[in-house]
């Protein structure tokens, strides 16, 4: 198949589908009440487990274990964020335990819309309903491809990239800031900050808008903890629900 075939085939979409997509979206009934109840439970759990979560960083990267390399790209630049394969030898292609960020602000939730977990990934989307905090937490096996590469980012040409370290509790996480030339990258004019770390078995990624405060990011990362049943937090092998 030629790469442009699908682009052209989209013109064959049914007229009624296209027209329906132009209708004003139905009002969503947010699960706010449920979210607040869950938030309350999570905050209680967080206060109980905060000390236990501290060990989470025991093998976090020291600025070398997780690194970024350019691998070229068709329309912009593609980067692989790789984990040192020697250190990842204990990992395999599947997740055996799941981690969840417990941090929550008032009237916010790790939402069902967009989040999903499976045997090889765990994605959780933070939503504070129109306020300025957007964040996504990812968990992957540290070794999920043959070459140990864990995650790839495709960055449109013109995006300004900077690679730094993000300090948290004496550890340094790989930090990539992406500032689009216009409103290109993921349509977000604010730019994106992506933080990477690992415990040797899992690759963790926290992606957030650039204007999210560093203290908030630290709180989110500190709140990450292992859970016994991931399906209590995010849909497991099931289509995420974006509407009530």
């Amino acid at each position: 198949m030629k790469k442009t075939d699908i682009l052209f085939a989209m013109s064959e979409l049914r007229d009624e589908y296209i027209e329906a997509s132009e209708a004003k979206p139905k009002k969503r009934i947010k699960r706010r009440a449920a979210s607040i109840a869950v938030a309350a439970v999570l905050i209680i759990m967080l206060s109980v487990t905060a000390i236990a979560a501290a060990g989470f960083f025991s093998t976090v990267n020291d600025g070398e274990l997780v690194f970024m390399e350019a691998v070229g790209g068709y329309t912009g630049d593609t980067y692989q964020i790789r984990f040192d394969i020697d250190v990842a030898e204990d990992s395999d292609h599947l997740l055996h335990e799941y981690y969840v960020p417990m941090y929550l602000e008032e009237n916010s939730a790790w939402t069902d819309c967009g989040g999903e977990a499976g045997e090889t990934y765990n994605v959780m989307v933070y939503d504070n309903y129109g306020e300025n905090l957007f964040a996504i937490f990812y968990q992957y096996p540290a070794w999920n491809y043959d070459n140990g590469a864990s995650i790839g980012y495709s960055v449109p040409a013109g995006t300004e990239l900077s690679e730094t370290v993000f300090e948290i509790d004496g550890e340094e996480l790989l930090c990539i800031d992406m500032q689009p030339a216009d409103d290109g990258f993921r349509g977000d004019p604010f730019g994106t900050r992506v933080l990477f770390w690992s415990d040797g078995y899992n690759m963790f990624v926290l992606e957030a808008r650039l204007d999210v405060g560093e203290d908030v990011l630290r709180e989110i990362i500190r709140s990450v903890e292992k859970v016994n049943n991931i399906s209590e937090y995010v849909k497991f092998n099931e289509t995420p629900d974006c509407e009530e």
């Binding site: 198949m1 075939d5 589908y17 068709y74 996504i136 040409a157 409103d183 974006c242």
Partner: protein, 184 residues
């Protein structure tokens, strides 16, 4: 003027058909083409070509939906213009991003032996199986080429949530196409 009346004018070879179509649907077709090309002048040319295309193909065609007929023609003309831009790496970031995303579905950039229509029908079956909201997000991105920011604004979700939903939909589409025998 109602679409049926405009189509009758095409059948009568009355040039008023063109001005009535332009009056009614030029703006819509322009936004479809401009989203793809990111250039007003190129978009304008596409709309003019789409109107000419309508004049040349009606009759014998009698479209059930004139708006979609000219919009899809404009989209295809814009995509053909875009092909050249892609090889020269020129054009709007959003189109590059969409192209890059859809490229994930084609493992090799090779000539294929299926008709574009067959692929289109398969994509329609895929779209038909989606929940309404997912389908709409899919169409806003891959037909209209809107950015995740624009889509997020429409559905009151963050651009990042849109990106995650689209990522999941592409994975599903790839599985669907494989199942239907396409070489992806």
């Amino acid at each position: 003027m109602r679409d049926e009346e405009i189509i009758d004018l095409y059948f009568e070879r009355n040039e008023l058909a063109l001005s009535e179509t332009e009056k009614k649907y030029k703006g819509y077709c322009f936004s479809v083409a401009e989203n793809i090309l990111g250039d007003r002048q190129d978009a304008e040319e596409c709309v003019n070509s789409a109107l000419l295309g309508a004049w040349n193909s009606i009759p014998p065609n009698r479209p059930e939906n004139l708006k979609m007929f000219v919009a899809k023609t404009a989209r295809n003309i814009a995509l053909n213009k875009l092909k050249a831009k892609l090889t020269q790496k020129r054009g709007g970031n959003e189109v590059f991003a969409v192209f890059e995303e859809l490229s994930e579905l084609a493992s090799e950039d090779t000539e294929s032996d299926f008709e574009a229509k067959e692929l289109g029908e398969s994509i329609n079956r895929f779209a038909g199986e989606l929940k309404e909201r997912e389908r709409n997000i899919f169409i806003r991105r891959y037909f209209f080429m809107e950015s995740p920011g624009e889509i997020g604004e429409r559905y009151k979700i963050s651009p990042n949530s849109v990106s995650v939903i689209l990522h999941r939909l592409r994975k599903k589409l790839k599985k669907h196409l494989e199942k239907e025998g396409f070489d992806v």
